[in-house]
Amino acid sequence: MATAKDTALEQIKDTKKRYSAGVLKYRQMGYWDADYLPKDTDTVCLFRITPQEGVDPIEAAAAVAGESSTATWTVVWTDRLTACDSYRAKAFKVEPVPNNPGQFFAWVAYDIILFEEGSIANITASLIGNVFSFKPLKAARLEDIRIPVALVKTFKGPPTGLIVERERLDKFGRPLLGATTKPKLGLSGRNYGRVIYEGLKGGLDFMKDDENINSQPFMHWRDRFLYVMDGVNKASAATGEVKGSYLNVTGATMEDIYERAEFAKELGSVIIMVDLIIGWSAIQSIANWARRNDMIVHMHRAGHGTYTRQKNHGVSFRVMAKWLRLAGVDHLHTGTAVGKLEGDPLTVQGYYNVCRDSYTRQDLPRGLFFDQDWCDTKKVMPVASGGIHAGQMHQLIDLFGDDVILQFGGGTIGHPAGIQAGAVANRVALEAMVKARNEGKDIRNEGPEILRKAAQFCTPLKQALDTWGDITFNYASTDTSDYAVTPSASV
């Protein structure tokens, strides 16, 4: 290891030396500057890096800055045709990750000129492009990002936003209720529509296509849309409420996606759905289409686990959520904390904050490293889905508040007395819990008692509690926030 005085650790200011042909360390090339103060217009990223054995963490951080901006492996004289210092990202702080030997947090700042306005594709091509395959690092993870106001304002954000969505649906002051149609695969259009009708008539606000329902041999997409919309409208007439079903328009090409979206609009659906795996550009395209057509866009985060699950490598979901809010989705699956899918409660709350805040404050226990001003960008409705049931209603409302969609798929369709009964159980549990909370009850502790009381006048709820009351998914979370108890100030 070099000593601090070693010239190999300092930026070379002499331009003749700096640009003579050969290979330099990244920090010599100017990608490390411990004195750098990020500008208000800079994008600031926090990476969790695991350098290979013997690689100095500061050099590794400088390399991340280099490889995610202008650097290549050797000196090039053509740098001198540019105002090259502007284009170099600057690593400016490195700290060991508490309780994780070998891992370091590296803060890197990017000048606003590095990014095309209004393009998540462009931002991601830099920030999670080549750098994530870079050999001197064993692993790298983008933990959080501060997007400057100047860049935020180049995005249109959610096409509808949660406030206007509530106004269109005429549903206020409580979480919305949904369910994913099951089984995921194999139902014909006619059978599929039956599940939609029963769930909505029973009391749910939304039903939902699953992520992998597109247009397989057992059910053509047009057939699904036609039967689903009959169920939606019949349920709306039976209840006097606006109802919806997320019609998944995901397809092989953008032309397919537009064709399916147009048909959903013609049939009068209030909402369409796409999967994360369609990609950033397709997401921004469908968001534009939705703005032109008064449509709510539901985003299923299918595939996100390949980015987000491993704590030492990939992209944190809080970063994905920030990008998706800017790219323009109205609903986003953000985890349940208490259900069958991954998620530490505080970390999951951090994702919810990113979706719904007007201004997100630094909150290290929730994994939020930066203040983020959303400057009036519309808000995304978070969706809690996956292995949750009516018996957890108090925990869900306590964790997430009113602005969330609670989706009980199995917890509705698997009800012993049928789908309508399952929907009734969930709606009664929800309304009883909201009412009790508003009356000042401590629902976190009194929740089970409140549910039992409501079950006295609601047999379907009693049956639900008898069936699932004791089901929990208590596994250790693989993605908790790492932070020092006395954290250093962050930008």
Partner: protein
């Protein structure tokens, strides 16, 4: 009678629960006031799911900080329109919200016939749907008995 499991219109926050007593309504009003919301009373005899604009029973009570006053307005509305749907709504004027934060029904007509679904067959298998209130054929004010 409507055929959904509650047998009635299910708009609002609490339609699946037994009707709230006036004491329970007061607790909800207090909750809204503690959040800084402004309450208002609205009524209609056209509860179509997309009838956004129910009639205002007076202005939103922006300066009223006492649940008794809101409750009094609600009771006035009930005695004036006993056979109408009446809802209480709480408005949140916080920047970035500026919308309704709570809404629940506090009065209903004795009979709720609900809605029919009119299907108009159009191109191919497509259908245009119209949701039509069984009582909307009568003039306003005469739909659920006087």
């Amino acid at each position: 009678m409507m055929t959904n499991p509650t047998g009635r219109l299910t708009q609002g926050q609490f339609s699946f629960l037994p009707d709230l007593t006036d004491e329970e309504i007061a607790m909800q009003i207090d909750y809204g006031l503690s959040k800084g919301y402004a309450w208002s009373v609205e009524y209609t005899d056209d509860p179509h799911p997309r009838n956004t604009y129910w009639e205002m029973f007076g202005m939103p009570m922006f300066d009223l900080k006492d649940s008794a006053g809101v409750l009094m307005e609600m009771k006035n509305c009930r005695s004036t329109f006993p056979n109408h749907y009446i809802r209480l709504m709480a408005f949140d004027s916080t920047r970035g919200i500026e919308s309704i934060a709570m809404s629940f029904i506090v009065n209903r007509p004795a009979k709720e016939p609900g809605f029919s679904l009119v299907r108009q067959e159009v191109n191919g298998r497509s259908i245009r749907y119209t949701i039509q209130s069984y009582s909307a054929d009568s003039p306003e004010g005469e739909r659920y008995g006087r």
